[in-house]
Amino acid sequence: MKRSVAVGLVAAAVLAVAAIATSAFLVRGPAPSGSSSELALEPESAFRSELKVGDEVFAVEPEIVVGIDYETPQRRISAERPSPNDRFVVSVKDAQGRELTRCQAGKSWDSVLPAFTSVRALRVLSATEARALWGAAGKDAAILRVRDTIAGDPTQFRVVVRHEGDVVLRDGGGVFVSSLPERVVGLLRAGCAGPD
């Protein structure tokens, strides 16, 4: 009897330690991205990451992708399809969620999905460089979201297209020039105004 009580006490102590350790873990990690003004004030330490050149940052089976969003404070462009065999339908909404236009995705959109099959880091910005870029352009950064049939959080990046045509993504603390072609982001941004 005494032995079983002792074992129980040991188990309870271990579980208590585990609970404390777990709760300590749960509050760790970078804070979620905030508003543009908050982004501009971020310290350099917020841009530390272990990303390396050539890293496959994101990959998804094209067959399970059901939506791609490009969101700015002014408008949200969404390309959605009910099933992989359907063509994408593009909708453009304003900041209040009112639909401005809706159209069937044209042939040119066929290049959008393969671009997301594998996104790699072509160049990783140093923390100093990333902070400078985000301080200057973070307020204009859009949200790029890829939705698929896997439950849970969709894949989401913040994106800035630089004048030289680099598509720069921010993923947690990592800021990198991505393998996404500028043309593809341009098509997303154009919504229904893009070429067929």
């Binding site: 749960l26 509050v27 994101f58 990959a59 896997i150 947690g172």
Partner: protein, 224 residues
């Protein structure tokens, strides 16, 4: 004149880069493009060696994915309506007679994960799987999404090197707790199942990083 080429910006795994020979080696799959190939019928002359699926086009490229099924050679051909071959590429499915496919095997009983190429064990790691309320279901799955930096909003936890293998969100990923994973694994086994995951397969960070680099998309994940 149409040609088969390596499309820019798409997966390069499986490529044997000899464009002048128009030849590729396929270990599991390769993605190729056909330029100026509108109106052509594309097929493999030996579909038992490899299968072919047409993906969404990219610009003027028609994109195809070739998936190796067994070792051997086949010819990828683009023919016009009269049956004349307009472009061709030699496909060599590597490892004739030898299964070199990558797969991941998770043992629920042993709380281990093995990475194999054919029958060769490349990695053998300890892991922690789901608790009894949130079990890691046995079965054969495959990697559908990879995410190097992943933070779960549901659990407010960092889950880097995430490789999702079920549609309900189960993934192999980094364990980021304070207690060492080996300790958690021992406690889960001997004291309380409560220390298990919510169905995901947790690995030590360095193990998760190595597996993430090694495992391409579509790698089979067997949970038993």
């Amino acid at each position: 004149m149409p040609t088969f080429i390596k499309p820019p910006g798409i997966d390069k795994k499986g490529w044997d880069d000899y464009p002048k020979r128009q030849s590729i080696g396929v270990s599991r799959y390769a993605t190729i493009g056909l330029s100026d190939g509108a109106g052509l019928n594309v097929s493999l002359n030996d579909p038992s060696v490899a299968s072919l699926a047409e993906l969404a086009a990219q610009g003027k490229l028609r994109i195809f994915r070739v998936t190796g099924s067994k070792g051997g050679n086949a010819m990828l051909e683009a023919k016009d309506s009269r049956g004349s071959v307009q472009a061709y590429m030699q496909i060599q499915v590597l490892g004739a007679g030898v299964d070199t496919r990558k797969r991941i095997v998770v043992s629920l009983k042993d709380q281990t994960l093995q990475a194999l190429e054919g029958t060769t064990v490349i990695f053998s790691f300890i892991c922690v799987t789901g608790d009894s309320s949130h079990p890691t279901d046995p079965g054969v799955f495959h990697i559908m999404r990879k995410r190097k930096v992943h933070r779960s909003s549901k659990y407010n936890a960092q889950m880097n090197y995430a490789m999702f293998f079920t549609t309900d969100g189960k993934a192999i990923h980094q364990y980021h707790g304070v207690m060492p994973l080996a300790v958690v694994r021992t406690l889960k086994e001997n004291i309380s199942d409560w220390l298990g995951s919510h169905g995901c397969v947790r690995l030590r960070e360095e193990d998760a990083a190595a597996l993430f680099e090694w495992a391409p998309m579509s790698t089979a994940v067997e949970v038993k």
